[in-house]
């Protein structure tokens, strides 16, 4: 699990200063709900998530612990109580400035490990506390195995509008290396069920898994296209420190992913998805229409505001970032004591805000206005265009300067630029 950032201590009441609160006005507001439970842990995963067994049995030898969900209800009860308390705390902190919520994203972990009523109950609590816009996007992540037609219908009934399914691959041996337990056929069933319930569907894929051939990846992409989701995320496998996968790579049991292989696979994804009408709108995210984009995530990338509810969740309001304690028990006890569960926070300096704006903005298909760059960044643009990393039309074209064409110029990555986005970011930040 990644360590929490080192930051400043957060105040016990979670208060935000007036300057941060002033940043709420006129900007979409999101709610992230983190559900820190999974039935088993996948070998590559370093998210803040726990199996019930880990949480309930500090000693390994717990007899009869064959059911991975044993003991889950008590964990869920404690978790939902705490999450509701944090929703109340958020309302207190934001006070009169509290905006109506535009997007909700329930992520994990495995949110669908919660009984459906509990999950939708949390969504209801947000709606009741803050209000929810009529066109709000309400997403939940789901494992293909942990949903069925009925539960999907119930989710839709309870206010969920969109479901993001962790498909990862359609190829059994690849799923095996990823420790994914689901039956590939369940993905199709889950997609159908979601469709039937009127939910928008997104599928997550991982490419570059050790042992995955280009053919395997093509098969996964084709399987995705056959399901005609509204949205596709394709992530390059990252071997995170401290994971079981990292240990296997270190031992030499599996080869480390290679950048060249991942580049081939990204290009193939771009080609196949593009041919089927799915265009990139962020480096790892593709949709057929701009309405299909994930608005909640767009908020993250555009420097928007959101509150992160749940253990280890991150929030951002008006240039202040904070993050909660990671362990569910600690999280619950802090809220039970009436305190903010924040572990730390940072008030971004102007330089940090600039770095983030460039870092996140350049990864978007809409691009980064050149006017957001400093002089060094602007000076780097021509070179990046010459190197084939930035789109020449977007960066240099537009109407003549005297007609205000300058203002429309943007840094938009080419395909090569998307793969070398870190290089582009460094250049645009002048180092």
């Amino acid at each position: 699990m990644p360590r929490l950032p080192d930051g400043d201590p957060a105040p016990a009441d979670g208060a935000l200063d007036a300057q941060a609160l002033a940043g709420l006005a006129g900007v979409p507001f999101g709610m992230y709900l983190h559900v820190p439970f999974c039935a088993t842990r996948c070998g590559y995963c370093d998210f803040n998530t726990y199996t019930p067994r880990e949480l309930l049995a500090p000693t390994r030898a717990t007899p009869g612990a064959t059911d991975p969900r044993a003991g889950l209800p008590s964990l869920v009860a404690s978790y939902t109580d705490a999450a509701r308390a944090e929703i109340d705390l958020a309302a207190r902190v934001l006070g009169a400035d509290a905006p109506v919520v535009d997007t909700i994203f329930v992520g994990g972990g495995t949110p669908t490990l919660l009984p459906t009523a509990e999950l939708t109950g949390l969504v209801g609590a947000v709606r009741d506390t803050f209000g929810l816009r009529p066109d709000a996007e309400v997403t939940t992540e789901a494992n293909p195995d942990s949903v069925d037609e009925a539960s999907l219908a119930a989710l839709a009934e309870g206010g969920i509008t969109r479901v993001s399914l962790g498909m990862q691959s359609a190829v059994p041996h690849v799923l095996g290396v990823l420790d994914r337990t689901h039956d590939p056929a369940n993905v199709a069933r889950a997609v159908r069920g979601a469709r039937a319930a009127g939910l928008a569907v997104s599928l997550d894929l991982i490419y570059g898994t050790p042992g995955e051939s280009l053919q395997d990846w093509r098969a996964s992409l084709e399987a995705v296209l056959a399901l005609e989701p509204d949205h596709v995320s394709a992530y390059a496998l990252v071997v995170e420190e401290g994971t079981a996968l990292a240990a296997r790579v270190r031992r030499g049991a599996v080869p480390a992913p290679s950048d060249d292989d991942e580049a081939d696979k990204y290009e193939l994804a771009d080609e196949l998805l593009g041919a089927a009408g799915y265009d990139w709108y962020e480096v790892s995210n593709f949709t057929r229409t701009s309405r299909g984009r994930c608005r909640h995530n767009e908020g993250y990338w555009a420097g928007g505001n959101w509150w992160g509810i749940g253990p280890g969740a991150h929030g951002h309001v008006g240039g202040v970032r904070w993050w909660n304690v990671k362990h569910p028990a600690r999280y619950a006890s802090m809220l039970a004591a009436g305190d903010s569960p924040a572990a730390g926070r940072e008030a971004l300096t102007p330089e940090q805000r600039h770095d983030e704006r460039v870092l996140l903005g350049v990864r978007l298909a809409d691009g980064l206005p050149l006017s957001d760059l400093d002089a060094r960044g602007r000076a780097a643009v021509a070179g990046l265009v010459a190197d084939g990393l930035l789109d020449p039309g977007a960066a240099l074209g537009g109407r003549p300067a005297r007609e205000g064409g300058e203002a429309q110029r943007r840094a938009v990555l080419t395909l090569r630029g998307r793969l070398l986005a870190d290089t582009v970011v460094r250049a645009l930040l002048g180092f």
């Binding site: 930051g7 790892s284 951002h316 970032r321 998307r418 870190d422 930040l429």
Partner: protein, 658 residues
């Protein structure tokens, strides 16, 4: 016995091969006359002799010479104890090895001199023991220490036998006409073969095996006898007490509290506190602020007379003003002729030293200035490298000297340094007859060259005769010429080679050790220079020369160097946005080529949700990392790649040629 016979033909340094006991001239001189101011000998018994009032007949100046690890420091410790100079409980192992680095590495870098009282046959004597450095890098200092003595204890490990430094130091001792007392050490060891090595030693110096003393520095066995023999065999110093004073400097040490402490051996006349002295090589004059003897801590005294050994303090702050080998005289009544043997220390090996953090350059400069105070052999001048920034080209006596200096800079001044590949000095003659001295490969002239001369050494290798083939092969690879070979015994051989210095300073000894399973020993000394077919190999990144990687090598080895370096760099330099050709070239001719393929993907493409801080921190880390990047043209080379590429093991080709 047969040994001596075998070494007759082709023996080069004939002068040092003569057998030792030929002391009659000196012994006669010693009996010459006794100056009036010494008390009559009979009254001296049982009274320790005070400095300045010690008749030369009662003085014995000696050193211990040995191959490294044969037990010189340990034996010295025992002598300090037996003579009561150091109390039992104050004793720590290798008492005289004072510097931290010395103690850690177990080697003696700086020599010291200790005055020890000793009673023999009811008469008091003074034994001055001069501890000499053992490493080839410091041969000149060894020779000056030897010149301060009349005798030498030739110490040989009874489990190892004679080794290369034993020989080298023995020859030096013979050149200085010292009386040699052969001693076998470590007789307590179960593996000791004193009888066998007594034969060997006797054969070497032309005495009888029974003449070899047997001691254990560890248990102390035989050490008293050895002290008696020192008194008995080593002649007392001779000199003219009434002549203008002359004292030879055999060591000069900077001390941050007292300034430079100069160790001298008085030859004629005497030195007294408060008088003005003059250095005969520089004519510089100083006031003698303090004069004393080491016993084993410094003790002030009223002066030093003929044959005495002690220290001087004049308040100078730089060992260059008080140089090893120089002659000290009285300013008011100066000697006309300096004692022979003085020579400026000459650096043999050069390397560029650069601070990893460029802003540390002034610290490096000050640090070198400070070290220089205590190291007359350290020379340096500022230089700039396109790849490494601002630094210094530093000259060293050898690789050990380089390592010690570098370690002290890093340890005592907290510096992180990159050092370029060490090289020797080349003398390049251009077509027009002009000369260029090259101490930095990037200064190697580009144009028409008439000839290049490189320094050579005469090297002595001692090894079991089983390894003759392996040694010959190695020396062949290193462009060596066999000058002669002698059997010290049927199973031990001494091989003498002329070798280019550049071929042996770096990893030769390691190679020799590994090819002889650790049995060979090596010693060498400078022996002029020779014309050689040398070329400069440049390394180019994307067509831009990286000055720090240029190297002067023999034409036959240029290809191997080029291939090795290019491959090394391909592995070390991270892939860039564009393809980067790495080339090795002699002038405009490319001799090796590698390519760093362009990087195709560096984007972080994983879902981190709202943890934007993590993403930004990664970026901030890259920003920091960027500061440790050096640009070569458009190519970003991490500092670590330079360090790794310049590390020694990385760049010495195993085999020459294609």
């Amino acid at each position: 016995m047969m040994v001596v016979g075998l070494r007759s033909a082709g023996v080069a340094p004939g002068a040092v091969r003569r057998n030792v006991p030929h002391r009659t001239d000196r012994a006669a001189g010693a009996r010459r006359r006794r100056p009036a101011r010494y008390p009559p000998l009979s009254t001296l018994a049982r009274t320790p002799l005070a400095p300045h009032a010690t008749p030369p007949q009662r003085i014995r100046n000696f050193c211990i010479i040995a191959h490294i690890d044969h037990g010189k420091s340990t034996l010295a410790d025992r002598m300090l104890q037996k003579t009561g100079v150091v109390e039992e409980r104050a004793m720590r192992a290798q008492y005289l090895d004072r510097m931290d680095i010395e103690r850690e590495r177990g080697i003696t870098i700086k020599s010291q001199a200790v005055r020890m009282p000793f009673e023999s046959g009811g008469e008091p004597y003074v034994l001055n023991m001069i501890d000499t450095p053992g490493h080839v890098d410091f041969t000149y200092e060894v020779s000056r220490s030897l010149a301060a003595c009349e005798g030498a204890v030739l110490l040989v490990d009874a489990a190892q036998g004679i080794e290369a430094q034993t020989l080298a130091n023995l020859y030096l001792a013979m050149e200085n006409d010292l009386t040699i007392i052969p001693v076998l050490n470590k007789i307590d060891l179960p593996a000791a073969q004193p009888d066998k090595f007594a034969e060997e030693l006797a054969g070497l110096i032309g005495c009888e095996p029974e003449d070899c003393l047997r001691v254990s520095g560890k248990t102390g066995e035989g050490v008293e006898d050895l002290l008696e023999e020192i008194v008995r065999q080593i002649p007392p110093p001779v000199g003219d007490p009434d002549a203008p004073s002359r004292a030879m400097i055999f060591d000069s040490v900077y001390d941050s509290y007292r300034g430079v402490v100069t160790y001298v051996r008085v030859v004629d006349g005497n030195l007294n506190p408060r008088e003005r002295i003059a250095m005969m090589s520089t004519k510089a004059t100083h006031e003698l602020l303090e004069i004393g003897v080491i016993s084993p801590e410094p003790v002030k005294c009223d002066g030093l007379g003929v044959g005495e050994v002690g220290y001087l303090i004049t308040g100078v702050k730089d060992v260059r003003q008080s140089r090893v080998g120089d002659t000290v005289t009285n300013q008011a009544k100066p000697a006309t002729q300096a004692l022979g043997g003085y020579r400026d220390p000459r650096p043999m090996v050069f390397s560029g030293l650069y601070p990893i953090d460029g802003s540390d350059y002034p610290i490096l400069r000050d640090a070198l200035d400070k070290l220089k105070l205590n190291d007359a052999a350290l020379v340096y001048e500022p230089e700039t490298s396109a790849a490494l920034g601002f630094g210094f080209r530093v000259g060293f006596l050898g690789m050990l000297h380089l390592e010690i200096v570098r370690e002290r800079l890093e340890r005592e001044f907290n510096l992180d340094l990159i050092s370029t590949l060490p090289n020797v000095e080349y003398d390049v003659t251009l077509e027009d007859g002009s000369h260029v001295e090259v101490t930095n490969p990037s200064e190697f002239p580009e144009g028409k060259i008439r000839e290049v001369r490189e320094p050579v050494v005469r090297a002595t290798v001692l090894a079991p005769s089983d390894f003759i083939g392996a040694i010959m092969e190695l020396c062949q690879q290193r462009r060596g010429t066999l000058r002669g070979m002698d059997y010290l015994s049927p199973e031990r051989v001494e091989m003498r080679y002329t070798l280019p210095l550049a071929e042996i300073v770096f990893d030769f000894f390691d190679q020799l050790k590994s090819k002889t399973r650790g049995y060979a020993s090596l010693d060498y000394e400078p022996d002029g220079d020779q014309v050689a077919d040398l070329v400069k190999v440049d390394i180019l990144l994307q067509g831009d020369q990286v000055d720090a990687f240029s190297s002067i090598v023999h034409r036959d080895k240029a290809y191997a160097y080029g291939v090795l370096m290019a491959e090394k760099l391909r592995k070390l330099i991270p892939r860039q946005q564009f393809e980067v050709p790495i080339q090795a070239a002699i002038g405009s001719r490319i001799i090796a080529r590698e390519t760093i393929r362009a990087i195709r993907k560096d984007v972080l493409a994983k879902c981190y949700g709202g943890d934007i801080s993590r993403k930004r921190k990664l970026l901030e880390k890259q920003k920091e990392g960027k500061k440790r990047m050096k640009m070569v043209g458009r190519v970003e080379v991490p500092q670590e790649a330079f360090i790794a590429a310049l590390s020694n093991d990385a760049v010495v080709p195993e085999k020459a040629g294609k």
